[in-house]
Amino acid sequence: MTEPLSPTTNDLVRLLHEVDDRARRLFGRALAIREVDAGSCNGCELEITGLTSPVYDSERFGVHFVASPRHADLLLVTGPVTRNMAVPLVKTYEATPAPKLVVAVGDCARTCGVFKGGYGVAGSVDQFVPVDAFVDGCPPEPAAILRGILTAVGRR
Amino acid sequence: MDSAFSQLCVLGSSLVLIFGLILLWRRGVTAYINAFMWQSIVLAAVTVIVARFGNVAELYWVAVCLLLLKGLVIPRLLRRMERRFSAERELEPYVNTATSMVVAGLLVLFGYAVTRPLVALSHLPTRVGVPLAMGLVLVSLFVVISRKKALTQVVGFLMLENGLALLAVLGTYGIPLIVELGVFLDALMGFLVMQIFIYQIHETFESIDVEQLNRLRH
């Protein structure tokens, strides 16, 4: 059995309702997310998959992960942008139809984190694509990722 | 009256056959050409006899054609060709003379056996000569097969023509004029083709020995 839910679930539920009504205004209750791994150590990916688990269940709020950027509204970019992922990241951004958002997940996305200065690292995400929201943490909790999405959706 | 007529026919056809046999016996192309010439002349005579007694008018024309074509024109051409290839003696034929004579004999007997129903059937006085004519046909066929020299084969073929003509004359008092002319035309054409054929052989092999031909195959 996984460990019982911590007492802070209720503010989590409040948070999710916020995402719900924020998203409605911009994307009308349906938000398609395309997750882009620009060179992350997959720590953030684990947390992102946590989003679709029964505990967080982002699905119920219309947040849906899609296969192709053509179908997506929001790009969830993880990890520092490595040299060979620089062009693909930009291409993915171009392939996404407007209106589109980018959320950079994890410290690596913002400051290249532990990989800073590595020979393979080309730079942080915002040097390549305009980022609407950063999510700190290495790796950030699913709730934190949701909050990031919320700020991205809210600001637009 | 009939018996004289049939007697003459038998004599004529047996003479024709004998000339055929000379071909087998003698060596040397000139002998063959003479034999052929005389054979044609006798054949023309037989045709005249049948025309006279069987009172078939157009046979006279046939006889004249025979005489002219096979009696004069073709032998002269043959001699010219023979001179051209100079005195090439007939090489050893496939079958030596003795066996070829025996084979000729057998063939004549076979001719008799084959034409017996014909003879029994037909009521014409000349029916007696038919087996002889068939014999000549078979013998000349044998000549064509067994001789190596292309020229001899040509003469053999012409004798075959004579045999057939004789068969026609004796069997049914000659075939309709048109067919007769057709046969003559064929004979002439055949002869011309063979002439060309022989020149070619001579060109390529410097000899008209037909044996060389199988070098062409492989």
């Binding site: 009308g28 688990s53 269940d57 119920r60 899609v66 192709s68 053509r70 179908h71 509204d73 139809p97 | -």
Partner: protein, 315 residues
């Protein structure tokens, strides 16, 4: 006068089908979510999704030709045309004369044909892969569908949908074992044609395993909305075919208010039941390896063949 009413009813029936389609897809997803004890998106989530997609920008590949832009409209039109022909609520269907079961099958094939062509157009490997697999599955499913039609036509004496439904409703004798076998065969074909598990996983992200999804990777904005809507409508059509051709009880015969409401109610119940069956099925079994799919389709073919022979024997 009667024709106009019939025409209006026919069109309204198709409109109802159009409206219900995204809901049906949402319902299946919601049921699957509940089975995975997730709260899952509500059944009307696809409506939001379509609304959002209609407001999104369209990004089209530079390699694509006019066919890429025309295909979504052709797919949508052919599926709506089928919705006009299929008897959802009313049996003496005004459009019955226009097309029978064969026309329905070939109209759906028209949609698949153009969707596959559009998948090839942008020139990406995924589109080619999706198109090739989709056409393979469609081609292998054809004989099963044809034999199922043959079995139905045998007992109903005609391939016209109205007649088949009327004949099956006329009495219990009409429902022979042949019908049951044909139902099972058509059910497997439904899973194949609409891209459900075990043939194709609608929720996968791994391009190599997709069949239907791989073809529409290139579409975005309103084109994608049309295609998703058409796919949902196709699912609804297959479900309604399954329910009305084999269990037609409740389909209205007269045009009275009570008969219509009864018909609508029975339709909804049947759709929910079928959606539940599909959801349970998708949660229970895993996806078949692509080259085991023909074996599954051959099973459905044998079922259809048995359906035909049994209806032959009982004739």
């Amino acid at each position: 006068m009667v024709a106009i009413i019939g025409f209006a009813l026919g069109v309204s029936q198709a409109a109802l089908a159009l409206l219900l389609a995204p809901g049906l897809v949402g319902l299946v997803r919601w049921l699957k979510a509940r089975l995975q004890n997730r709260r899952g998106a509500p059944a009307w989530q696809p409506y939001w999704q379509l609304a959002k997609l209609f407001r999104k920008e369209v990004v089209v590949s530079s390699n694509a030709s006019w066919l890429f832009r025309a295909a979504p409209f052709i797919v949508f039109t052919s599926t709506v045309a089928v919705a006009l022909l299929v008897p959802l609520l009313l049996v003496p269907l005004p459009f019955d004369g226009v097309g029978d079961l064969l026309v329905v099958v070939y109209l759906l094939l028209l949609g698949t044909f153009f969707l596959s062509l559009a998948a090839l157009d942008p020139g990406s490997a995924f589109g080619g892969m999706g198109a090739s697999r989709e056409m393979t599955v469609a081609a292998l499913a054809e004989p099963t569908v044809a034999l199922a039609i043959f079995a139905l036509a045998l007992s109903a004496g005609s391939t016209n949908l109205g007649q088949i439904v009327a004949r099956t409703m006329s009495g219990p004798a009409a429902v022979s074992p042949g019908h049951l076998l044909a139902f099972l065969a058509l059910f497997i074909v439904t899973l194949a044609e609409t891209g459900r598990l075990p043939i194709d996983n609608p929720a996968t992200h791994l391009e190599l395993t997709m069949i239907h999804e791989a073809m529409v990777l290139e579409y975005s904005g309103r084109y994608l909305a049309l295609i998703e809507w058409a796919a949902g409508l196709k699912l609804l059509i297959f479900f309604s075919l399954l329910s009305n051709l084999f269990m037609p009880w409740g389909v209205a015969t007269g045009i009275t208010a009570s008969a219509i409401t009864l018909a609508v109610a029975s339709l909804l119940v049947k759709l929910v039941v079928l959606a539940a069956v599909v959801a349970v099925l998708e949660t229970r079994i895993a996806k078949l390896r692509l080259f085991r799919v023909p074996e599954l389709l051959s099973v459905s073919f044998v079922l259809a063949l048995l359906a035909v022979t049994s209806s032959f024997l009982l004739r």
